[in-house]
Assembly symmetry: D2
């Protein structure tokens, strides 16, 4: 292990108090340790975005299908990226709310771009994109 460095971080006390209470419940022994884990998670995500080779990805969106045209626009965009999208699984949560999981396979950069386009459609209540490996490069 190389040289250890130290730097200062500033934030609102309210945010720090929330952070402290969470890391304490998670069993972290120091703020540094928790922040290092957050940074490592960020690095993994970031590496995947620029990764070569084939990747899988899952986009989760929650929306109100009665919103004018949202369902049609999502479907249109999904078909437009049809070469990257394996399928979309639609759950009918209640009369209005839907959750869709759309599964991607292809180059990381293209998947991310398509997922960003889909999740930026106006009217979507919640969206989250997750990369996953194809497993081919893992033992």
């Amino acid at each position: 292990m190389g040289e250890t460095v130290r730097f200062g971080v500033s934030m609102d006390r309210e945010l720090l108090d929330l952070f402290d209470s969470i890391i304490s419940s998670k069993g972290y022994s120091s703020r540094s340790e928790a922040i290092r884990d957050l940074i490592r998670g960020m690095i993994v995500e970031e590496r995947w975005k620029t990764r070569e080779g084939e990747m899988m990805g899952v986009l989760i969106v929650v929306y109100d299908h009665t919103q004018r045209e949202l369902c049609s626009r999502l479907t249109r965009e999904q078909h437009h990226h049809g070469d990257l999208i394996l399928c979309t699984l639609h759950f009918h949560i209640d009369e209005m709310n839907c959750m869709e999981t759309t599964v991607f396979r292809g180059r990381a950069e293209e998947i991310k771009k398509a997922a960003d386009e889909l999740s930026s459609l106006r009217g979507i209540k919640y969206s989250k994109f997750i990369f996953a490996t194809t497993g081919k490069d893992l033992p």
Copy 2:
């Protein structure tokens, strides 16, 4: 085995020729045998429609999502029958064409009614509904 009865069937020669060539390729030894199998299949389907207890069902529809409002109307109808529908899996076949499989769970009569409503939406190119068992009553 009970009494065997015989009755006459009339049809267009062209239809009969097609039937004959299919049943010959399938290895049936007589038209009667093939027709009995078709009738048995019909009876099984019919029994499921009036069956008590919980059933599964799958509706397959193929449609052009660029058709005005079809995607939105399907989604609206599916949400309306949300208590019977587990989820809908959407495949983006090409820029225009979609295939959806919608999975139902519930009373046979209600499932069939909901599936009929969905598949009768104008603009659907192809639809097929299939009952399936929950497996609970089968050894």
Copy 3:
């Protein structure tokens, strides 16, 4: 409209009685009419099996996942036909029973062969395969 021909069909009276009661409830005016419809359905199915070009297909299976190895064997067979299979949607009906819908895309003959192999695995309680169009050749 060509020449109309007439031929005789023989069956067990019990089977004929069931058939009569179903076609009466369906509103058919004659046995010939109902049998013609059954034959037309059979012709459509048969044509799909030998059809050129790309097809979609859906295999529904119901099985008891606690049956020794059935889940693993199904998964192994599905991966073996990975170039034809888009995905498999698995429903957990109860502690033991599952329903899976597996969606195929490819040449009719190859799809049918793969679906037949999957559905013939010992221990499956129910299986049904359905062809569907990609919609490309339909107005």
Copy 4:
């Protein structure tokens, strides 16, 4: 806005260099700003884990189905949590590798517990769990 506090964080220089290069490419103007965002993301995730009311969740796992019994064990565990799981969508990546997305609906605490059990099965190459809202409490 309340009082701003400042505290020190220590880490390996290599980790800090990676962090700096990522936040620079993302356009952050300071480490503090990037760390605050990471902490806010952590808080949102944490809040969902302890949230009252109905939640949705998606578990993504990648595994080698030829690994002894892994497929059967996953299926068994999924059926065991059948009241929380809507369905599992299985993709056949290649002869060996699979990706599954399992969709949960229920109380956050129970969903998280079930997802943790599933993702801790030995032999899984990658797993990621994501909470999602039902959309009911969002405008």
